[in-house]
Every structure is written in structure tokens, then in C-alpha cells.
């Protein structure tokens, strides 16, 4: 009962906002080119989602045909770039972060450079990335990996540095070698931080992919909403924005589910 009421109060504000928006449109208070009605956006969304051509059995299976819609192709393109960029950026940040967290020498060597580069927003790398990699996926992936790199790095360093020294004392007392200490104590103890870093890094990657598609690529959700502006298709822009929002929410929910599943031992993730 309480759950229902909670859910009901959760949809109240969105519904009111939607109603207000519909009211603005139906009363003709705003130009439809500036702000199309919710219905128009929904119609465009469906058109954007649907396959462009009629089903032709000679072209392949029905399932494959279902994925030929522009929206789905754009989503796949964007997700692919996010994934590749995140894996490269996070994959480089993780070992470096572990080394910097574990060894004072490594920290002393790398930290000054990291501190200088870290405040540069990934977007500031756009000119260089185009000079270096031209257009297409490579500059986009490069920018995304920079976006993912620093959150994963900083959190990994903090995670390793914040391992409670009592666990290391227990490890030594139980006879753990340095390698065992690292793999069986430091690494698992640092995972809550590392996962937080991955989640933030994924969020940044998602922002950067949209921006990079507006500059360097000619498909993907970011490209599509910029393209729609040139035709004054505000309904398509809004449909694209909602898609981006829902996708971002989906990815973040997935990441947080995954981390609470893997960190079910961790106190911080439970209520009470």
C-alpha cells in the first residue's frame, strides 16, 4: 500500500509537467516549431524508432530488419563508442591507479602530471583529437577515454590509499606475502572506490559521446539532434534528448545494480 502511494507520488510531478506542456501547445501559446506538443514528439519518436524501409525477406531476417531504424542505429553507434572509450580509458586508469595508490614512488612520479592534466575538461581536447585522429570514431573514442580515465584513476588511487591498515596487519599476522596482500586484501578492499570511479567515469563518457558526435561523427544520438536542428525539427530534437536521458538512466541503473550485487558485503550500500 505504502509502496503504491510512493510510486504514485513519484509520477505526480512528471504528469503535471506533461499536462502543462500539452496545455501550452493546445492553447497555441507557443510556436510549434519552438516547442512541439508532447503528442507530436511521441509521433516523431515512433517514426524515428521504426525501420525506414518496408520489410524485405531478401535483405535478411525479420529481427535484423527491426534494428534498421534510425534511432536504434544511432543508439548502437553511441553505445559502441561509449563502451570502447570507457574500456580503454578505465583500462589504462586502473593499473596506473593501483600502482599510484600502492607505491609512494609511483605516486610521486605520476601525481604532478595527473594534477596538471586532470582539470582540463575532455571537451578541451576536441581540437587536438581532430588534428590527431581526423574524423569518425577514433577522435570520439579518444575523447571518451579521457573522460573515463580521470574518475577511475582518482578513485582507484584513493581506494588503495584508504585501505584500513588493520587489514594489512591481519594479513601479515596470518602470513600473507606481499603479492597475496595486494591481490586478496588491498584489491578487494579498494573495490567500493573503484566501482564509484567507474560509475562516475561512465557518466562522463556518456556526456562526452554526445558532444563528440556533434563534432566529429556523422551518426549517433548527438549527431542526430544537431542534424535535426538544421531542419528545425524540434520534435526530433526532443525525442533524441529523451532517448539520451533514458539511456543514461538505464546505464547508471545497470552500473549501480552491478556494483551492489558485487559489493553485497559492503556496509555503505545497505540501508541501516
Amino acid at each position: 500500500m505504502k509502496g503504491y502511494r510512493h510510486a504514485a507520488s513519484g509520477v505526480l510531478v512528471p504528469l503535471a509537467a506533461l499536462a502543462f506542456w500539452q496545455l501550452l501547445s493546445s492553447m497555441g501559446w507557443v510556436n510549434a516549431t519552438i516547442l512541439p506538443s508532447p503528442g507530436a514528439v511521441l509521433v516523431k519518436w515512433w517514426a524515428y524508432l521504426r525501420p525506414l524501409e518496408a520489410f524485405d525477406p531478401n535483405q535478411g531476417s525479420y529481427l535484423k530488419w527491426c534494428f534498421t531504424g534510425e534511432l536504434i542505429q544511432d543508439t548502437i553507434g553511441s553505445l559502441y563508442r561509449v563502451l570502447v572509450g570507457f574500456v580503454i580509458g578505465g583500462g589504462l586508469a586502473l593499473p596506473l591507479g593501483l600502482a599510484m595508490g600502492y607505491s609512494r614512488v609511483a605516486y610521486g612520479l605520476f601525481n604532478p602530471l595527473v594534477q596538471v592534466l586532470r582539470p582540463i575538461p575532455p571537451i578541451a581536447y576536441i581540437p587536438l583529437s581532430i588534428l590527431w585522429f581526423g574524423l569518425g570514431n577514433p577522435p570520439a573514442v579518444f575523447l571518451i577515454s579521457i573522460g573515463a580515465f580521470f574518475p577511475v584513476l582518482m578513485n582507484t588511487v584513493a581506494g588503495v590509499q584508504n585501505v584500513d591498515s588493520i587489514y594489512l596487519r591481519v594479513g601479515r599476522n596470518l602470513g600473507a606475502s606481499r603479492l597475496t596482500q595486494f591481490t586478496r586484501i588491498i584489491l578487494p578492499a579498494a573495490t567500493p572506490y573503484i566501482f564509484t570511479g567507474a560509475r562516475i567515469g561512465m557518466g562522463t563518457s556518456f556526456i562526452v559521446v554526445i558532444v563528440s558526435e556533434m563534432i566529429a561523427v556523422n551518426n549517433g544520438l548527438g549527431y542526430r539532434i544537431l542534424e535535426a536542428r538544421e531542419y528545425l525539427w524540434s520534435d526530433k530534437i526532443i525525442a533524441g534528448m529523451f532517448t539520451i536521458g533514458l539511456l543514461g538512466l538505464g546505464i547508471d541503473t545497470l552500473m549501480s545494480r552491478l556494483s551492489s550485487h558485487l559489493l553485497k558485503w559492503h556496509r555503505g550500500l545497505e540501508q541501516g
Partner: protein, 267 residues
């Protein structure tokens, strides 16, 4: 010097460390011979160096001068022959009860079947069998300390070092675990060095209670507790000893207080 019955030999141990630019003499000229199988309590106010001495025996922080030997061999580093139980439990939160207990054996390379058997018997011994799949966060303080004890017992170390292990527990749980510890000690015949600031705990558990002085930590009194077990905390003999130790401890406590006030005045 030390005869065959001596298990842990502490000779002329000093420990000096630096704190706020000042040298603190934590331990001075400690001599202690502990025979095999003896249950020794180190008793004193905070700052008397009892934990420092325990850490020196554990090998976490070596003595500045003097020697500590176990079976005649000098201690240079921590090792599984001297299992330690900490006040803050220090269980690995990412491991289940069972995994925590098995950890020491796993890293030693013991084969799986032997680990399983050993872990199962230890969990049974400490009434933890039903909790073996739980994570430490889902256990009470008393349960966690049982796991920590099982984890040390898994190593079969002849010596158990215990640093105020029951200090954070409520009175009932505490008594319960004390009884359990005595049962384990009787069964497994370990040498136990147990740090506490509770007089009653020391008298309830120990064969021998060593009272330490506030900075520098020295041995103020080395008392054999010749009471029958199970000990009756309400008996006149128990209370006579308690009164005696309480008097000694109050002296040290007041020195501790004075030092703290002086420190506060300087700040």
C-alpha cells in the same frame, strides 16, 4: 637463561617512539618469562604500553632494545605462529565467515579438503556453523569476535595474542566469550598473552596477571592467580585480589590523569 618450559621470553625490552617531537618511553626494562600453556593477562591503564608490548611480541613494531624470543628464536616480523585477535575484530568484510576462517590456511597452500574439514570443525567449536555464509556486517560484535578467534585458531599457532578482544562487547556477551575462550584454552593448551584494562577480566581468565605502570611502562606487579576454575567473581578470595589490583591500578591511573592535565595545560 630460559629453560625448556619457557615459551615466550622477554628480556630487557625498551621501546621508545617519537610523538609530537618528543621522545616517549613506552616500555622500560621489561623482563617476562612465559611458560608454555600459561594464560597471562597484561593489565594497566591506557598508555601503560601493554599494547605496545603485545605488538612487539606480534612483530608489528619491534623493540628498540632488548630481545623477545619464542622457543629461543628472536622475533623479527609478524607470523602465523603468533595469531593475533584485535579489539576491532578486523575481519575482512568482503569475505564470508567461512572465507575469513579459511584465509590463513589458503595462503599457506593447504589442500582444499583439509581446509574444509578444519574450517567446519572450528565453526562448530565456536557455534558459528549456521552463520558460515554470512558477511561480517551482518553479525553482532560477539559473533564477529568468535570469527576472529576461529581465524586465528585455524593457523594452529601455539601462541595467541589478544588485544582487548572483548573490550567493545556488552557484559553478558563478554562473559560468554570469556568462558568460551577458557574452554578453548583448556582444550588446545595454547600460550595466551591477553591485554585488558579490566581487573575482573584479568582475574577471571588468567593464570598470571602482570600489572604495568603508566609511562614509562614497567612491570609493577607480577601476580599468580591461584584460584580454582571456574572462578566465582563473588567469592571473598576473588574480591580480595580485585581490591589489591584495583589499588595498584588507581595509582597508575592517577599518574595518567596528571600527565594528561599537564599536557592539556601546555597546549
Amino acid at each position: 637463561m630460559s629453560d625448556a618450559a619457557t615459551h615466550i621470553s622477554i628480556q630487557g625490552v625498551h621501546k621508545v617512539f617519537e610523538s609530537g617531537g618528543q621522545e616517549v618511553h613506552a616500555l622500560r626494562a621489561i623482563d617476562l618469562e612465559i611458560p608454555r600453556g600459561q594464560f597471562v593477562c597484561l593489565l594497566g591503564p591506557s598508555g601503560c604500553g601493554k599494547s605496545t608490548l603485545l605488538n612487539a611480541v606480534a612483530g608489528f613494531s619491534l623493540a628498540t632494545a632488548g630481545t623477545i624470543t619464542v622457543d629461543g628464536k628472536a622475533i623479527t616480523e609478524p607470523g602465523p605462529d603468533r595469531g593475533m585477535v584485535f579489539q576491532e575484530y578486523a575481519l575482512f568484510p568482503w569475505m564470508t565467515v567461512e572465507q575469513n576462517v579459511a584465509f590463513g590456511l589458503e595462503i599457506k597452500g593447504t589442500d582444499k579438503a583439509a581446509i574444509q574439514e578444519k574450517v567446519a570443525s572450528l565453526l562448530a567449536m565456536l557455534n558459528l556453523t549456521d552463520f558460515r555464509k554470512r558477511f561480517p556486517k551482518d553479525l553482532s560484535g560477539g559473533m564477529r569476535q568468535r570469527v576472529a578467534i576461529a581465524r586465528v585458531l585455524a593457523l594452529d599457532s601455539p601462541i595467541m595474542l589478544m588485544d582487548e578482544p572483548f573490550g567493545a562487547l556488552d557484559a553478558l556477551t563478554r562473559r560468554n566469550l570469556q568462558d568460551e575462550l577458557l574452554r578453548i584454552w583448556t582444550e588446545l593448551k595454547k600460550t595466551i598473552l591477553f591485554v585488558t584494562h579490566s581487573i575482573e577480566e584479568a582475574l577471571y581468565l588468567a593464570d598470571r596477571t602482570v600489572v604495568m605502570t603508566y609511562r614509562p611502562g614497567t612491570i609493577k606487579r607480577d601476580l599468580m592467580v591461584d584460584l580454582e576454575r571456574p572462578r566465582d567473581v563473588a567469592s571473598p578470595a576473588f574480591n580480595a585480589l580485585k581490591k589489591e589490583l584495583s589499588h595498584l591500578l588507581m595509582e597508575e591511573q592517577s599518574r595518567h590523569n596528571q600527565a594528561e592535565f599537564k599536557g592539556a595545560a601546555v597546549d
